[in-house]
């Protein structure tokens, strides 16, 4: 059985959203449209519970200056590919942040082949072993809040306990933890503890 790509769509226009869903579903067996959102905030409220392979998103939902990176807003994992679904002009600085761009004038077959190609490719800037080509090189450093959460994780606190200590929601704790894993490349709690100890964030 072929692997199906799990897709999330973020598109404010209901007509276009339904059109894209219908076009992709007509290509039997390749795509599963599992989630559809009308806005970024609608998407981010679910971001922790879903793990799409591909996010298709309207680039006009983002700041055209590219000040905030698309990946940081969508806060998904490195494996997720992000494709722009564009029908107005998109600034170069913004379109570079996507793994691929599809247009409303593409045929369903063209869109399908672009999605497949993107899904099989390396993510545009995932590899933290290399300095980023654009953007801010220091953005892989942990923020103060992330450091605080990391210390609590290393001490063995649960998400609920961490939320209580820092007076934030469990949802926020999870989102910080995702970012910590993404930035450090360290997944296990014991690995994160080693990180915290080596960096003198906790002692023993």
């Amino acid at each position: 059985m072929a692997v199906k790509f799990r897709i999330a769509i973020i598109e404010p226009s209901q007509i276009l959203r339904t059109g894209l869903e219908a076009s992709l579903s007509s290509i039997a067996g390749k795509f599963q449209i599992l989630w559809s959102f009308s806005s970024l905030s609608h998407y981010t409220s679910f971001a922790d519970e879903i793990d799409p392979d591909i996010i298709i998103v309207n680039p006009s939902l983002f700041d055209q200056s590219g000040a905030e990176t698309v990946k940081s807003i969508l806060s998904n994992t490195d494996e997720t590919r992000i494709i722009a679904f564009s029908y107005t002009h998109t600034s170069d600085i913004l379109s570079r942040q996507f793994d691929s761009v599809i247009s409303i004038y593409d045929t369903p077959a063209e869109i399908a082949s672009k999605i497949e190609k993107t899904a099989g490719s390396e993510p545009s800037e995932s590899d933290s072993r290399y300095p980023k080509q654009n953007g801010h090189p220091d953005s892989y450093d942990l923020s103060d809040r992330e450091l605080e959460v990391l210390v609590s994780v290393a001490k063995g606190c649960t998400n609920k306990e961490i939320a209580g200590i820092h007076n934030i929601s469990v949802h926020t704790v999870i989102s910080h933890r995702k970012n910590i894993v993404r930035k450090t490349g360290i997944k296990s709690v014991s690995g994160l503890t080693v990180y915290a100890l080596l960096n003198g964030l906790i002692d023993q």
Binding site: S128, T184, G185, K187, S188, S190, G191, L198
Partner: protein, 237 residues
């Protein structure tokens, strides 16, 4: 795209194309000096099932490879179990100790901070214990179950599906250690040893991934095929 490996290819060509095969040859006890012999011939001379050897190589190098379940005999499945046991033995008695030796060279080096050394050693010991229990579950529960099936006895209350469901990932912490050394090891450690250790970690991670794929995509379907044929045989009699 390249075609899957076949028994008529020269063994030397196969190895030249993919160094991962060296480890597979070594574990199966196949001796070098292949000359112009084909894979089938070399395997026959070394009393190893060519079908199992090729299936393991194909799984290692081709993501799309799907073995044909009907074509494996019971003795070939037994060969596969032997290969997996030998792999476990190699991981625990060769690869892990050599990594431990690297770590102890690093932690006992002149510039080492004793507190950091303790942390690294502790992390790896914990990981080694985890591996130990992962492999010993397979050696003591899963493989004997498979051997039972091969001799026509099916142990009640267990199935290969259970193994598949609980088959845990053993590479995650290895990858964590890689990133810790690569990104966050403080200065002052002997870098040649650190790089040597890193290469070993990368290779072992690749071996672990392959090993899990052989278990998930060869052992599990083979055994569940045997389970089904055993069921229909019992019903029929």
């Amino acid at each position: 795209m390249r075609e899957f490996y076949s028994g008529n290819e020269k063994m030397s060509t196969l190895v030249n194309g993919s160094y991962k095969i060296i480890k597979i040859l070594s574990r199966l006890g196949i001796k070098p000096g292949f000359g112009e012999s084909s894979v089938n011939e070399v395997c026959f001379t070394n009393s190893v099932s060519a079908k199992i050897f090729l299936a393991i190589c194909n799984i290692a190098d081709f993501d799309q490879y799907k073995p044909e379940m009907d074509s494996f005999s019971k003795s070939e499945t037994a060969d596969l179990v032997r290969y997996l046991r030998l792999s476990h033995n190699e991981f625990m008695n060769k690869d892990i100790p050599s990594i431990e030796l690297c770590i102890s060279n690093i932690t006992s080096s002149k510039g080492a901070n004793p507190k950091h050394s303790e942390i690294l050693k502790h992390f790896f010991e914990e990981y080694r214990d985890e591996l130990e229990s992962h492999f010993s579950y397979e050696d003591k529960t899963v493989f004997p179950y498979v051997t039972g099936i091969l001799s026509g006895k099916r142990e009640a209350g267990y199935s290969i599906e259970k193994f598949e469901e609980n088959h845990s990932n053993i590479e995650a912490k290895l990858s964590d250690l890689k990133n810790i050394l690569l990104k966050y090891l403080p200065a002052g450690y002997p870098y040649e040893v650190v790089y040597d250790l890193l290469s070993r970690l990368y290779l072992l991670e690749e071996e672990f991934e392959n090993h899990a794929r052989v278990e998930d995509f060869l052992l599990v379907p083979l055994v569940s095929h045997l389970e089904n044929s055993l069921k229909s045989f019992n019903h029929g009699s």
